[in-house]
């Protein structure tokens, strides 16, 4: 198949760029046989314009339209089922998450209850400023590393979670309420005389 013959078809059916068209028209002026062939094919192509559209039978068209309606109804039903399943799945997931969190809370509460029965040394350290001096911890139960400060006071407040630390703080603060104010200077002097100084080994 030569390219020029294909270009005849592209020219007849108006599928050429303006520049291609111009170039082809120049070639047509130079080649008489090509021009004759082109005109002949153009006439045949024009004859095809007599071919009219054929309408499909109405019954078939109606059947297709009804089928389209049925299909969209089915897809709507399927869609609502999908929506129902999706909501059920989301609800189930939420319930599971809630259950897991609840169980976790229960476990934490029971373990902190057990810890509460053990004698706690934290009260010993309550006087110290442990909230500032305690070493960093990731808060896991296994990560308990008691440490001793320069006053040789043992600290292991990692046993407590943040809530427990807060309660210890409040206990510490309320312990000041038990102190009585010293009003007479005599009593104060007597107390000062009774102070016994101690020192550490360091």
């Amino acid at each position: 198949m030569s390219k020029i013959e294909n270009r005849c078809i592209a020219y007849i059916f108006d599928e050429m760029d303006p520049s291609e068209r111009l170039e082809f028209e120049r070639e047509l002026q130079e080649d008489e046989n090509l021009l004759i062939e082109l005109e002949s094919l153009k006439r045949v192509a024009c004859n095809l314009n007599g071919l009219n559209c054929i309408e499909p039978p109405e019954a078939i068209v109606n059947y297709v339209k009804a089928q389209a309606e049925r299909t969209s109804e089915n897809s709507t039903e399927t869609g609502s089922f999908k929506y129902l399943f999706a909501s059920a799945a989301v609800t189930l997931f939420a319930v599971m998450i809630y259950g897991a969190v609840f169980l976790q809370d229960q476990r934490t509460a029971s373990s902190s209850g057990t810890q509460g029965n053990e004698p706690s040394v934290s009260s010993l350290t309550a006087a110290g400023d442990f909230s500032d001096t305690r070493p960093e911890s990731d808060g896991s139960a296994d990560d308990i590393s008691p440490w001793v400060d320069h006053d040789e006071v043992i600290h292991f407040h990692e046993r407590f979670n943040r809530g427990s630390v807060a309660s210890v703080d409040s206990m510490f603060n309320s312990s000041f309420d038990k102190l009585t104010r010293v009003n007479s200077s005599e009593t104060l002097q007597r107390v000062q005389q009774q102070i016994h100084l101690t020192g550490s080994n360091r």
Binding site: M1, K3, E5, N6, C8, I9, A10, F13, E15, S40, L41, R43, V44, A45, N47, L48, G50, L51, N52, C53, I54, E55, P56, P57, I60, V61, Y63, V64, K65, Q67, A68, E69, T71, S72, S75, T76
Partner: protein, 211 residues
Amino acid sequence: MRLNKSYDIPVNYEKMKDRELVHLFRKKDDQLAFQELMNRHQAKIYSYIYSMIQNRETANDIFQETFTKVITKMDDTYNEQGKWIAWVMRIAHNATIDHIRKQKRFVDVKSSYDEGSKTDFYDRLPDEDSPGQQEKLELDESTSSLLKHIANLPEEQRTVVMLRHYYEMPFKEIAEITDVSINTALGRMRYALINLRKMFDEEHEKESKYL
């Protein structure tokens, strides 16, 4: 909203592009949008199928099969970026070609040559797919005459002529639908026109003889 009396489809649907109608049908199950699409293209699609098959019953079946696929597969396989009608024509074309190939295969397997009459089984059968034998459609004379000639073209040439005629489809798209190069599509059209010219000439000769 004003309704068009002929189809009971709102006038604004007629102004919409295919893409917008397809979107309405897909996303909102808008049946009127689908009906408007049908009204626009049904005759061209049917004409293409009929001109390829030249049998009313088979054309009806293929037309129905085409739209069943269009309705059921639109959500899965149609990409709204492309032309909807090109997608539908590809389905119609594939269904038509499948039918033609099945028919050919059937003939190849079953035909038996008779030495006595020098004909095979199918030579002795009436040709149901020829326009003369079938239940005739009410066609105007020029269409009927042209279809008779087009029916005699080889299948691949017929395809190019019909896709171009009914859809003014660019040769690039025809080449894509028929899985050939653009040069092959142009070449097929050229051969189709040459063959048709020959048929028209023969017809003219016959007519002048009778006159």
